[in-house]
């Protein structure tokens, strides 16, 4: 007979878990005690539970396996909530484990009691309150299966203290029987035929590749389809990395801060092939004006996404890797010279970088360009949320799946640094860069402590515009330029701060030094923080205002 906590750890080992991002507390004492015995699993002690959830998410996204985080009951559990919601919105597989007050005290408002299964019901794919120690093997197995299969997402397991302490025989759980949960993997044959025929007939076809391509591991299949049928590819924010952006067919990111070429292509295409995306309002802007000339093919693992936000002419539910293979078998080689020429002209007319060589002020486009130049090929970029995120999405040349990690659906400031911690733990050999703003940095910076302790050579790039730039931009456009609560009157000295964490600290305000500093930053073997001083007036363009179609951009200039 062994305690529930030990059973839990054994089960996690069986799932192949190697790392947990955890933060301890009373209700999780037994779990940490058992964890220490494991030779397979190590705990990365974070500095805030939100960081644990984000790190688990960054880990999962970089590695393609389930990320695990662990917190105590009450405040530990509620601190996970933003991270769980972030993972939920971006369909990231994490398993969150929380301690809970003993079963006898559940419901009594006991010390550090919170109904975390109730709280996370809307932001988890599924969750469990363990009531019997003998259920642990089944629940853990189900949790990992549910988190990682179908449309991935977070699953939470809440374990009361007396359950982790009480003893039972450890018995491996056999076959799962989840009669209510059977993801549909193979595409319906008739629909595959129809869709393939439509692709074959299209004159101006366009692929929109979303995060689903990455989670399904279907980047190769996407590449095959695009190349053989010569179809240009736009990406949602979550889909960046699924198609190499240095490829002639690549259009880059679309949406309300999308690139002109991608947005115009959506507007003029006659067949839109939407892969693993969900037509979020930041992608479509006005849905009535979205892809007005196109018949829409929507391929996704989640049937509930099909037809939810926009009308879809050809739905196809299934795992993208399988479905794209089914389609690739049918579609023959094609050429669309006129269409590609049209797109090439748009690309030429609206080049990405707004260069201002006459100005002394550093242009963010240049920063990104130097990153493209100096970051090694195996780099992983995480971002926070704001203008810096959009500049990164617009300008960085992502070539590999899992190389861009950003909070798309929830838009969570404070994500970038802990996500980078997770990604670096998952991929120790990769160069992991967190691009952040002076606002977001101050939400996520507690995890610098984790980076220090774990010896993680993170590269943290702060684009310091002395303000909450993205909100300022919104105020420019929607509040007639009235700036409220966006300009920091005082900011800490980021150099001092970074030095306290043992980082190499670099600061650049002069354009002429930029290239050199970015290079030094990228090549530094250890933890490094580069602060780039940029104008507080800069905005992200092109931009689509509320109610407009994504072809109706402002700031195209």
């Amino acid at each position: 007979m062994v305690p529930g906590a030990e059973i839990l750890i054994k089960c996690l080992e069986r799932e192949g878990v190697e790392v947990i991002f955890g933060y301890p507390g009373g209700a999780a004492l037994d779990i940490f005690d058992a964890l220490q015995e494991s030779s397979q699993i190590r705990n990365v002690l974070v500095r805030h539970e939100q960081g644990a959830a984000h790190a688990a998410s960054g880990y999962a996204r970089a590695k393609g396996t389930v990320g695990v985080c662990l917190a105590t009951s009450g405040p530990g559990a509620t601190n996970l909530v933003t991270g769980i919601a972030t993972a939920y919105m971006d369909s990231i597989p994490i398993v969150a484990i929380t301690g809970q007050v003993p079963t006898g005290m559940v419901g009594t408002d006991a010390f550090q009691e919170v109904d975390i299964t109730g709280i996370t019901d809307p932001i988890t794919k599924h969750n469990y309150l363990v009531k019997d120690v003998r259920d642990i093997p089944r629940i853990v197995k189900e949790a990992f299966y549910i988190a990682s299969s179908g449309r991935p997402g977070p699953v939470l397991i809440d374990i009361p203290k007396n359950i982790s302490a009480s003893k039972a025989e450890y018995q491996e759980y056999g076959e799962l029987e989840l009669r209510g949960y059977k993801p549909n993997l193979t595409g319906h044959n008739g629909q595959v035929k129809q869709v393939s025929r439509l692709i074959q007939k299209a004159k101006h076809p366009l692929i929109c590749a979303g995060g689903g391509v990455i989670s399904a591991g279907a980047a190769e299949e996407l590449f095959e389809l695009a190349e053989k049928s010569q179809i240009p590819v736009a990406n949602t924010l979550m889909g960046l990395g699924s198609f190499p952006l240095d490829h002639p067919l690549a259009l880059g990111v679309l949406g309300t801060y999308g690139l002109a070429s991608a947005n115009f292509a959506v507007h003029s295409c006659d067949v839109l092939i939407a892969l693993g995306m969900r037509f979020d309002d930041r992608v479509t802007s006005s849905t009535e004006k979205f892809a007005p000339n196109a018949r829409i093919i929507h391929i996704d693992i989640d049937a509930a996404e099909v037809g939810k936000n926009v009308r879809v002419d050809y739905p196809l539910v299934g795992d993208l890797k399988i479905v794209l293979n089914q389609i690739n078998e049918r579609v023959k080689e094609m050429q669309h010279p006129e269409w590609l020429e049209e797109i090439r002209q748009i690309k030429n007319k609206y080049p990405k970088r707004i260069n201002r060589p006459e100005s002394e002020v550093i242009n963010t486009g240049e920063v990104m360009e130097y990153l493209n130049e100096y970051l090694p090929g195996n780099s992983i970029v995480t971002t926070d949320v704001g203008q810096h995120q959009m500049w990164a999405a617009q300008q960085l040349i992502f070539k590999n799946p899992r190389s861009f990690i950003s909070s798309g659906g929830l838009g969570t400031m404070g994500y970038g640094i802990p996500a980078a911690v997770g990604a670096q733990v998952a991929c120790p050999a990769a160069t992991v860069v967190a691009i952040t703003g002076d606002g977001s940095f101050q939400m996520g910076m507690s995890e610098l402590g984790t980076a220090l302790e774990q010896d993680l050579p993170l590269k943290i790039l702060i684009l310091n515009n002395q303000c909450l730039g993205m909100v300022k931009q919104l105020q420019d456009h929607y509040c007639e330029g009235r700036h409220v609560a966006v300009h920091f009157q005082k900011n800490p000295d980021f150099q001092h701060l970074a030095r306290a964490y043992g980082a190499l600290t670099l600061r650049v305000a002069d354009r002429t030094e930029l290239a050199q500093k970015v290079r030094e930053f990228a090549e530094h073997p250890g933890l490094a923080v580069l602060e780039v001083i940029i104008s507080s007036k800069d905005n992200v363009y092109p931009m689509v205002l509320t109610g407009s179609g994504i072809n109706e951009m402002v700031g195209l200039g």
């Binding site: 109730g118 019901d121 009669r179 209510g180 989640d302 509930a304």
Partner: protein, 159 residues
């Protein structure tokens, strides 16, 4: 339009709150909801009556299907079904009115299950239409209290 959904779910605690939570947070309107065990004690059945156009009902059905504990969702609106609600209604019944109330009760084939000094309790089962008709007929006498279950429904056997 109104749809009747027969939803088979795992008979576990928390399932009902998952399902009802789904409805409130996605802004769907539940007209009525009845849960009961089924012939298989590991399975419960939720009969839901939902108001919405085709698109809403499609979303409701898909979102329900996504719940891990939901085993099957059937939209039985356009099927051959037997549908029943149970109504208990306390109607004011002065001696002068009793005769007439009893006649109405007879016509609708419902029952009087309690007699008070100034009131009668009427019990009726039937589909939505019948229940509404009864309520309408008894309203002029003064309804003191009324409770009604939501619909339960079952597909008819093959003929």
């Amino acid at each position: 339009m109104r749809h009747t959904l027969a939803v088979l779910v795992e008979n576990q605690p928390g399932v009902l709150s998952h399902v009802s939570g789904l409805f409130s947070r996605r802004g769907y309107n539940i007209e009525s909801l009845v849960v009961s065990e089924t012939e298989d004690h590991t399975v419960s059945r939720i009969t839901l009556v939902v108001e919405g156009d085709e698109q809403v009902i499609e979303q409701v059905t898909k979102q329900l299907n996504k719940q891990v504990e939901v085993i099957k969702v059937n939209d039985i609106t356009n099927e051959e079904i037997v549908e029943r609600q149970l109504l208990l209604l306390k109607v004011s019944a002065d001696p002068a009115d009793r005769q007439e109330i009893m006649q109405i009760v007879d016509i609708f084939r419902c029952r009087i299950v309690d007699i008070g000094r100034r009131s009668l309790v009427v019990e009726a089962t039937g589909d939505e239409k019948k229940i509404q008709a009864i309520i309408k007929s008894l309203r002029p006498f003064g309804i003191q209290e009324l409770v009604c279950t939501g619909s339960v429904a079952m597909l008819r056997g093959q003929k």
